[in-house]
């Protein structure tokens, strides 16, 4: 499978704690993206990291990418109850025909307890 695989499948933390989610993949990528999905809703893009980047920040989010290990992590600092959602990584592979697509993993379900 070329999809990313998130770990853990579910994570429950107290408000104020940090949450770390991991994504592993098996092929070379152009970029890796993280999305959030609130229950029953569509996905919202959080952050994109290109294959030549190692770390990116956006507000309370920090994403790292290790292409040698084919893995990425998403860190949410000082979590809030409103961060409760499922988080998906998506990998952009591309191919010789130029049809670049995103392939999603199964997601990590984060619960932040007030």
């Amino acid at each position: 499978s070329q999809q990313g695989e998130e770990d853990p499948q579910a994570l429950s933390i107290q408000e104020g704690e940090n949450a770390t989610m991991n994504c592993s993949y098996k092929t070379s990528i152009n970029n890796l993206q993280w999305y959030r999905q609130n229950s029953g809703r569509g996905l919202v893009h959080l952050i994109l990291i290109r294959s030549n980047e190692r770390e990116k920040h956006s507000g309370r989010l920090r994403v790292t990418l290790d292409t040698s290990k084919k893995s990425s992590s998403l860190l949410i600092t000082a979590s809030r109850a409103a961060d409760t959602a499922s988080y998906f990584c998506a990998i952009n592979i591309g191919d010789g025909a130029g049809s670049y697509q995103l392939t999603f993993g199964k997601g990590t379900k984060l619960s932040v307890i007030p």
């Binding site: 152009n30 993206q33 809703r41 998906f88 999603f104 993993g105």
Partner: protein, 113 residues
């Protein structure tokens, strides 16, 4: 807030009915996609389009069909719905060229009895 809209949000129909899920975006994006997602599961790409009159099947085989007659509109049709089609269908769009951020609609949850 993404300018991509899906209707209906919820649909319950009987087996054998024909249904069309609508998706429209006002961002002028060339690329549009349909993903299927079962509860708590990953998204599977079922159709995509790189522009008007361009449609391709995705990784997951689907009995649905799509059309792209206008840039902003990418409807999905099931000619004869079955209980196995019960799922959430998510429409998305992105700018042309290098695949970056996808903008998703709120989804259409289909239940076939």
């Amino acid at each position: 807030e993404a300018d991509i809209y899906q209707t209906p949000r919820y649909l319950v129909i009987g087996t054998g009915k024909k249904i069309t899920l609508e998706c429209s975006q006002t961002m002028g994006h060339d690329k549009m996609y349909w993903y299927q997602q079962d509860p708590g599961m990953e998204l599977h790409l079922i159709h995509y389009s790189y522009g008007v009159n361009s449609t391709e099947k995705g990784d997951l085989s689907s009995e649905s069909t799509v059309s792209r007659i206008r840039t902003e509109h990418f409807p999905l049709t099931l000619e004869s719905a079955r209980p196995s089609h019960t799922s959430q269908y998510l429409c998305a769009s992105s700018e042309s060229g290098y695949t970056g951020e996808l903008f998703f609609g709120e989804g259409s949850r289909l239940t076939v009895l």
